[in-house]
Every structure is written in C-alpha cells, then in structure tokens.
Amino acid sequence: MQALKKVEIILGAPELPKLQRLIEALGHNYSVFHHVTGRGDRGVRGDDDLTGVFTNICLLVACRAEELPALIEKVRPLLKKTGGLCLVSDAQSVLH
C-alpha cells in the first residue's frame, strides 16, 4: 500500500472541461462522479435540471503528497471564480 492524498473537488458541471484540462496538464489520473446536487453559499444547485448546467460534479484525484501543492494552486482560482468545495484527506492505495 502506498500513502496518497485524496483530493475531492466539487464544482459546477460546466466547469468540468476546464478542470479536466488543468488536471491532465499536471499529468494526474482522475475519476468523475456526475449529477451531484447540493447547497452552498451560492444557493441550491441541481433542483431543476432543465439544462444540466446547474448540477455539480465531484472529481477525485489520488496523488502523492508532494504533488498536492501544485494541484491546489491550479484549482483554487477556479473555486474562487465559480464556487465549490475542495477537500483533501489521507488514504492508502492498494498497489497492483
């Protein structure tokens, strides 16, 4: 098992392409959970899904601790601009 940082980023669905590009540029793999609704400081999201632009996604990146600062530096402006949540926690990855 390898110690990793688990980064979970919740953002508006229209931001996903930008976020993906940014994370791919850093060379990370990732997973995306779709159709996440929620309530934040900017109101309720996803209650009415006429267009899909008002739902969130949750993107998960497992990366090494030393890669974390660069990732966060990239994600922060996006969060600042459109709102969202970014949680970091510790995890062990099963090697295979």
Binding site: R42, D47, L50, T51, G52, V53, F54
Partner: protein, 329 residues
Amino acid sequence: MNTAQLLGNFLSPPILFFLLGLAATLVRSDLELPSPLPKILSLYLLFSIGFRGGMELAHSGLTTHVAATLGVAILAAVAVPAYTYFILRVRLDPANAAAIAATYGSISAVTFITATAFLDANKIAYSGHMVAAMALMESPAIVVGVVFARLAAKRAAGGAETEAFDWGRVGRDAFLNGSVFLLVGSLLVGAITGNRPGAEALKPFSHQLYAGVLALFLLDMGIVAARRLADLRRAGVFLVAFAITVPLVNAALGLLAARLIGLDHGDALLFVILCASASYIAVPAAMRLAIPEANPSLYVTMALALTFPFNILIGIPLYQAAVTAVIGP
C-alpha cells in the same frame, strides 16, 4: 381578449399539464420527471421545431419578405437587451443587470412551441421561417449582455485591462451553445432535405410526437416553476414588476414591428411571443460560464417562474387579441 379566448387557451392539454405540474409542487406531491428526462425532452423539442421549420422553409423558399422578418428579428434581439440593461442598472450591479438583460433579449423556445401548438389547435397558419427568426434571436442578446458586463468590469478596474478575456469563448457560448446548435442544425437539415425523399420518414417522430412531448415537458416546467416561486421573495418588487412589464412592452414593440413589415396574423403572433419571452435554457447555460458573478436565482427564477407562466397562460390569448386588433384576424 374575451373570457372564451382565455378559457380556450387554459383548457388545452399543454396548459393544463403545466398547471398540473404547478399543482404537484404546491400540494407537495413527490411527482417528478427523473433526470435527465427533462433535458431529453427539451433536446427533442429543439430538434423537432428546428427540423419542422426547416422543412417548411424548404417548401416556401427565401424571399425578401423572409429576409425582412429575419432582419427585424435580429434587430429586436440586439435592441431589447440594450435598453433593458439600463433600466436594470437603476437597481442592480452590472453583472446581474447584464444577465437579466440577456435573458429578456433572448427567447424561450418552449414558449414559442406552445404558441405554435395554440395556433395548430386553432387552425391558424404560420410560416416555417419564423423558426429561423427564433434561431437568430437566441444568441445576440448573450453577446450584448457579456459586452455590457465586460465594459462595466473594465470601468470598475479604472480602465486598466483586467484579466485577459476570451471573446472566442463568448462567441462559442452564444452561437455554439448546445441548444442553439441543435436548433440551427436541425433547421438546416430540414431545409436541405425538405424536398427530398427520406425526410418524410422522420415525420412520425419529428412532427407527430411533438404535441405530446410538449405536454410532458410543460408538466415538468410547472413542477420546476413552482419550486422557484419561493425565490421570488429574494427577487424583490422591482424585478417581479420587471418580469411582467417588460414582456408586455416588448410584445407591443414586436407587434408594431410586425405591422410595419406586414406579417400575417400567425407569424405576427409568433414574433410577438418571441419578443415577449425570456430564455431559461440557452442564456443561463451561457451566463453560468460567461458571467459567473451573476445570480441565477434572479435571472432563471424571473424567466421561469414569472415570465414563462405569464406568457403561456395569459400572454398568448392577450397577444392574439392585440394581433387581431392591430393586424386583423
């Protein structure tokens, strides 16, 4: 407009399904159309209206009359967001004023489709190129809104150039927006293939199902609009008044223009409804990206919970009465 006309509109399936949706939320039924069904239905409606309009266009062709109509449509789509922005700035910050102006400058395809269903039920003719007019009216207001928002941001930054702005992206959001693209694309396919074998085969899907799909979609619109009603308190009296008054003003201006360029009854009604309607699909999708500072619970709520119900419940018969008075039956 007399009571019979109003009642005639109310007692049609699309409107009643809309009211049913409103009722579902108000009595707290757990009825809802599961995601992504609403989006599927709206994609179908854009495809259907585009393709049908395109086929009509193929039959009628492009005349100077058509060109005049399209020109006036674009004009309206630029003028409305421009004048409303200044009214809105009286009370609102630039971002919200720009987003709401764009919302009312653009159009609501579902309102338009509901009006065509109304015309169909009353056996009143209308032209395929009105769909082209609708398509042309979707995007300009988005660009106008973003321009205003940018100018204000620049002024706020003291004329200093703020963070580089991606105008290509604004254009993309305005003109290549999923729903605009599907509508325009379907219109083109319909126009190209309308007179060829092969297009007929699509009719059971594209032409015959639309009234039923519209009814289901309006059911969902009712559910969603009623959920938004609670947000109206936040909007305040000014914006509530705006959401009813501005459509009426735009309808009147639209009617004048329709008279000037000599539209028939059916086409005039559709043009008026386009001017009066506000976007809650294409514009929010673009604003969310282009003006993220603007508050969707203002611009979406006004368009969805006030202007949309007003237009389909009262607006359509009211505008028809006005069209009859000004242009004739």
